[in-house]
């Protein structure tokens, strides 16, 4: 019936998307009860919840082929087995850092999930169709924050610019195509990340420029998340996220 090799590739692809959403959702939830205002607290937690939902859909799907439940995938893998982008595992930083990361990712995801809606894999297409609606909503808020922070005070502008400078070297990984994704692209299942780059760059450059913020000229970049090569931060994050299941295996609410 099914093509075993293709099924494995799709599972790996779903795992990547699921891990991106899970790790980022966890980072967002770290703001819960700690955001600068009550409205932002609720907003960040709500966005985090959307990511958690997306993670569950993707990990359930990956888990079907991998023979593991979503909880096993989330709570019983070590950092080397996670396949998320490095960008999403970085500590939350200050509010400017978190909002810049959100904005850069939102603009990317808007393009990415719009494309993925047309995937020949029905489940990935359905997940994308739900996701793109939510991302559109997230992007409206994060783009708005770029304006408010960039055109706010000297302090907010400086912090926001510093966040862009720090995060810029993590951007190339968003557009990296490896053997797996190239092969799935040819099968009409995956998205061509490379193709999204110029549109993303134009949108982001224009939006940031209108908020008195610049794209930095830098000569460094880091990649590795898709191969399981992570920053030291992921392990610390998992230590907290996985504690309960590690200490009390199988525990349920």
């Amino acid at each position: 019936m099914g093509d075993k090799k293709l099924d494995d590739q799709i599972a790996e692809y779903a795992l990547r998307l699921g891990d991106d959403a899970l790790v980022f959702g966890q980072r967002l939830c770290e703001w819960c009860a700690d955001a600068p205002t009550l409205e932002e607290d609720i907003a960040i937690s709500n966005v985090g919840l959307d990511y958690l939902g997306r993670a569950r859909m993707a990990l359930q799907y990956a888990g079907k082929t991998l023979g593991r439940t979503e909880d096993e995938l989330a709570f019983l893998r070590d950092s080397g087995e996670f396949r998320n982008l490095l960008l999403v595992e970085l500590p939350r930083g200050d509010f400017a850092f978190s909002m810049v990361r959100q904005y850069l990712l939102d603009e990317f995801e808007l393009l990415f999930f719009t494309q993925l809606c047309g995937s020949k894999d029905d489940t990935l297409g359905a997940i994308a169709a739900k996701t793109v609606k939510e991302v559109r909503y997230h992007q409206r808020r994060s783009a708005n924050w770029m304006q408010r922070l960039g055109l706010g005070t000297q302090e907010s502008q400086a912090r926001t610019q510093a966040a862009i400078d720090q995060l810029w070297g993590y951007m190339p990984e968003l557009f990296e195509m490896d053997e797996l994704e190239t092969s799935l692209l040819q099968a009409g299942i995956a998205v061509d990340r490379l193709e999204l780059h110029s549109k993303w760059l134009n949108t982001v450059t224009a939006q940031l420029a209108s908020a008195n913020l610049q794209i930095p000229q830098i000569d460094w970049q880091v990649v590795g998340g898709r191969k399981g090569v992570h920053t030291e931060h992921l392990g610390h994050m998992l230590g907290e996220m996985q504690f309960l299941q590690r200490a009390y295996p199988g525990l349920q609410w």
Binding site: L49, G53, R141
Partner: protein, 175 residues
């Protein structure tokens, strides 16, 4: 406030039409009716049918005992109300004597607030929530309102304030 004028024909999205057809042509109409009692746990005036979460109900008979499959679709992908709705479906059917119930979650077509009918929107408004296509104050009807936060008490709502009566109110996000 835009009242649903009686001389307007309400356009219905294809997916809502198909849901209505499935219900109208169903051989187990009594089960759909039974599930009308299951509401959104966070907005108890709206049933899961009105919300557009309830997609299909099927019954198969295995050696005489009926097995019910209820298909639902999530609103927001992370909405915690979905698991509560699943439990409420199972217990509503159990009370009516259906012990063998399976709740299936279907992602496509993606849920949209376009599936809320005019009548449902009016219910929301009476309950104090501005429906998706209106940001007029549900208390006093003034259109002079201001967004406080894009996000509010639940995943599906944002928060507004009425500048006429000064009351804050929830708005059902349009998605």
């Amino acid at each position: 406030m835009i009242p649903a004028a009686s001389n307007c024909i309400e356009l219905m999205p294809q997916a809502r039409f198909e849901m209505n057809q499935r219900r109208a042509q169903s051989k187990v109409a009594h089960l759909w009716d039974l599930l009308d009692a299951v509401t959104d746990p966070e907005i108890p005036v709206m049933s899961i049918w009105e919300l557009g979460v309830l997609q299909d109900v099927c019954v198969t008979h295995n050696q005489g005992s009926p097995a019910v499959t209820v298909v639902i679709t999530p609103t927001y992908s992370g909405c915690p109300a979905l698991s509560v709705m699943s439990q409420d479906i199972t217990s509503a059917l159990a009370k009516a004597g259906y012990e063998n119930v399976r709740v299936e979650i279907r992602l496509a077509p993606a849920w949209t607030t376009d599936w809320l009918t005019g009548a449902t929107k009016n219910k929301l408004r009476s309950y104090g929530i501005a429906p998706p296509d209106s940001t007029a104050c549900p208390q006093c009807g003034s259109e002079c309102t201001k967004l406080i936060s894009e996000f509010a008490s639940t995943a599906c709502k944002s928060l507004y304030r009425c500048l006429a009566c000064q009351e804050p109110f929830d708005h059902f996000k349009s998605i």
